[in-house]
Every structure is written in C-alpha cells, then in structure tokens.
Amino acid sequence: MFRHILFNLIQVLVVMAFAPLASGVTSRLKEMIQSKRGPSIFQPYRDLWKLFHKDEIVSEDSSWIFRFTPYIVFVTPIFVALLIPVLTNYPLFFAFMGDMIGGGFILALGGFFATLAAIDTANPYGPVGASRTRMVGFLAEPVFMIVFFTVSFVAGSTIPYIVQEKWVTPMANFFMPSHVLLMLAFLMLILAEGGRIPVDNPTGHFELAMIDESKSLEYSGRGFALMKWGGQMKFFVLMCIFLNVLVTPWGLAGDQILSAVLLAIPLVLFKIFCFLLVLVVIESSLSKLRLFRISEFLGAAFITSVAAMITQVFLP
C-alpha cells in the first residue's frame, strides 16, 4: 500500500514536471515543420521561472474568484492525474476514487473557474473568449458523454484501468470498429478542448479571435505562471487519458517494483512524443475554422462517437 502511494506521487510529479516539456516540444516541432528553427524545448520552463519571479498586478475591481482561480486551475489536473493510468497499468491507491466521468468533471471545474475569472475583470475581451470557450465546451459535452457510454458498453466499466485492458486482450480487440471510431472522436475532442487548430489558434495574439487564450489575458506574475502551467498540465492529462486508456496501454509498468515504474517514464514520454508528431502534422495542414463552423466540427465528432456506439451494438 505504501508502495502504491509512492507510485501515485511519482505519477503526479511526472505530470507536473513534464507538462511544460510537452508544450515546448510541440512549439519546436511546429516551427521545424515550417522550416524555421524554433525556440528551445526547455523554453516553457524558463518562462515559468521568469514569471514566478515577477510582480503580480491584480485589478481592484476583481473579486476573490480572480485571485483563487489560478490555484484551482493548477490543482485540478493534478487530481485527475491521481485517477488515471500515467505510468502503471494496474490501479494505484486513489484509482477507485473517481472514474473517467469524475475526471472529466474535475477538469470541467477548472475550466468553469477560469471562465468566471475571465469575466471577473472589466477587460472586454475576457467575456468574449469566455463565452466562446463555453460554446465549444457545451458542444463537446455530448461527445464526451457518448464516448464514455460506448467505452462502458465495451468494457463494462468506466474505471480507466479496467477499460485499457479490454483493448489488448485479445489482440483482435484493437481493431474493433468502436475502438477505432472512439479514437477518432476523442482525437477531435482533444483538438477542441485543448484549443488547438482547427478550433483555435494557440499562438494567436489577436484578442478578437482568441478562444482559449483569452482566459489568462489579465493575469501576471505568479497567477499567470500557475494558469499557464495548469493549462499545460491539463493538456498533458488529456493526452495521457487518450494514449494510455483509449489507444493502448503499451509502455506502462506491469510489475509493482520501483525500477519498472521508473522505466515506464521514458516509454510514456516517447508515446506522447509520437502523438505530438501527429498533432503537429494535423495542426500544420488544417486552417482555423470560422467560429460557427466549430459546431459542424464537433457535430462530426459527435457522429463519429455515435457511429462507434452503433457499431458496438451491431457486432454480434
């Protein structure tokens, strides 16, 4: 039991430590695809260090929500990291405290507070971005729900550890149509929730067109650092859910010894790197959708997930 708590802590530390690295690698890869040189992959760490040492300026007209939100945004992905398989494919200490739906709600909690905080100041661009984020959020909800329902049809449970086993025992299950279609649907979801192209441009500076970025427009210093880090961790956690639960549990530690868990770290990071390659190719080849076309994009994701559900029911 003590060992499990230790592994859980190591999981959380891994998420905290490597989330900025994932973000740095993504920007570097995107620049490389465009034949540019790009910033160093450790740049996000330097940014965070710089931000922690800067003064924080807070508007007088904002309430406790504005001050509280960075902590919430920082902590919610950590909670979710306790629940999902990051390094191991057997359940750890906190694993049964919440399933995937619970994890989804916890992440939504962070997003909820971020939205409120964006409205809290008097900056006009905040509410604009916040309302758009909510629109994307509620359009993505049905997809989330259907994905989880289908997963529970297939695996009989929504606890991530139990689900991930189903796709590889036996090996033929990997090619089940519900599996492939679920992967497609969840990929589209990650693009939407993580604010990537084609839904939103993460490197844009034009406030009128921002969706996700506008939530942290007003923050500075430590609050900004926490918001940034929290955002990166959220994306990292979503990737872990996608890769470790929905795609395959390869690379995860199977034995309950420390060395196996430590060995899993580079393997999982390698998996994440491959996914980032795919992500960067998708981002570089598509263009950002017009705002009201986002509903069509998420409609397509919805259809894909329902198709996954239908084919699961059709299989004899």
Partner: protein, 236 residues
C-alpha cells in the same frame, strides 16, 4: 483457421463497415463537391476491403472477384468517366446555402442509421448464423443515407454520388447474405454503375450547357400550378 484469426478478421470486417458508415455520413455533410467524390472513392475501397475480408474468412474466391471488380471500377473508372463526360465545373462547386443545415442533416442521417439497425434485425434472424454480421444493417443504412443525400443536396456531383452510395450500400449488404451470386451478375452490376455515371455525366453536361447551372436539384419548372405559360423557345 484458428479462432483468433477468425475473430481478427471479423473485427477488421466490422472496422471496414464502420468506416463505411462514417464515409456515408461524410457524404451527406461535406460541402465541397470534390470532397464528396474523394469520400466516395474511400467508401468503395472500404467495400472492396470488406468483400476481400469476408472472402478470406469464408473461403470464397468468388468474393475476391467481387472485391477486385469494385476496386477497379469505382475508385478508378468512375472519376475518369466523370472527367470525360461531365463538365469540369461540377468539381469546383460548393453548397454554400443548403436545404437543411449540416448538423440537422447529420442528425437525421444518424437516425436513419439507427433505424436501419432495427430494420436489419429481422432479416438477420432469418438467415443462417454464418451470414450474420454488421454488413446488412450498415448496407441498409448506406441505402437510406444515399436516398437522403439525394433529397437534400442540390449540386450535380453530390446527387450522383448519392445514387452510387445507394448501390454501394445494397452491395455491402448483398456480399454477406447473397454470397453465391454468379460472378457474371456481379460484373454486370458493376458495369451498370459505370453506365449510370456515363449517362448522368452526359445529362449534367447538357444541363450545364443549356440551362447554365450545375445545381440540377433546383430545377423545378414542371408543375401544374405555373401561372406563366411555358415558353417554347427555352434554349440558350
């Protein structure tokens, strides 16, 4: 063959049919005409894949022939024929304003897919167990979604592709329940598809030349209630 290979083949076939259904949805929703054509080519490839997988699973060389015929006629010959007979403008069209907006059309298509599951169940229950599988319900879905595409799209190329999707759907259902049809018949059905494309292409070119639009679904002059007299010199 061993049980695991059988299961793997069944799953791969189910995957092919699942992606077939997805392409049918895409054809209803896609705005660009060229995108619709590409989705149709993908769908025909999936049909051929399903035929080949079923052939391998049930040791029927006849189905390999079907797969080969589909592989050659639809992805290769159909686009070539279209390029030769129809005017080039149909490839460049996009439907900017639709009869039904895209999310609604997708939802109706989804409803049709679920309906086809219920329609297909009694049929599946009546045939022997080795014929059962996802092909029949998804084939019926293809049929219904193709018919639905025909009613909501107005541009020439998506209308034509909707017709061909109906045939694809009927075929997909057919390769699982009527496996032993003489190969000659399957060949003739495939040739038939090509003739459809040829004639439709000629008609579309004529419409483009004489009426001046590729939105053939919008032509609606012939009704009883027209007040103005029908002009006899209507050619341009």
């Amino acid at each position: 063959m061993s049980d695991t290979t059988n299961q793997l083949l069944d799953n791969l076939n189910a995957l092919a049919t699942g992606l077939f259904l997805l392409t049918a949805f895409g054809i209803v929703a896609m705005r660009q005409a060229r995108g619709v054509l590409n989705l149709f080519i993908l769908q025909s490839l999936l049909l051929a894949a399903s035929a080949a997988l079923l052939g391998f699973r049930h040791h029927s060389e006849h189905l390999y022939g079907v797969a080969l015929v589909n592989l050659i006629s639809k992805p290769i010959i159909v686009p070539w024929l279209l390029r030769k007979t129809a005017s080039a403008e149909i490839y460049t069209r996009r439907e900017v304003d639709q009869v039904l907006n895209i999310p609604t059309a997708l939802l109706i298509a989804l409803g049709l897919a679920i309906l086809s599951y219920f329609l297909g169940q009694p049929l599946l229950n009546a045939v022997a167990p080795e014929f059962r599988g996802p092909n029949v319900p998804i084939g019926i879905a293809g049929l219904l979604i193709g018919a639905f595409t025909l009613s909501v799209r107005r541009e020439a190329l998506p209308l034509l592709i909707g017709l061909l999707v109906m045939e694809n759907g009927a075929f997909l259902a057919g390769i699982s329940i009527s496996r032993n049809l003489p190969l000659l018949v399957e060949l003739a059905i495939a040739t038939d598809g090509l003739i459809i494309v040829f004639i439709s292409g000629v008609l579309i070119r004529a419409v483009q030349k004489h009426v001046g639009t590729t939105a053939v679904g919008e032509l609606s002059n012939l009704k009883e209630a027209t007040v103005e007299p029908v002009e006899k010199e209507g050619t341009k």
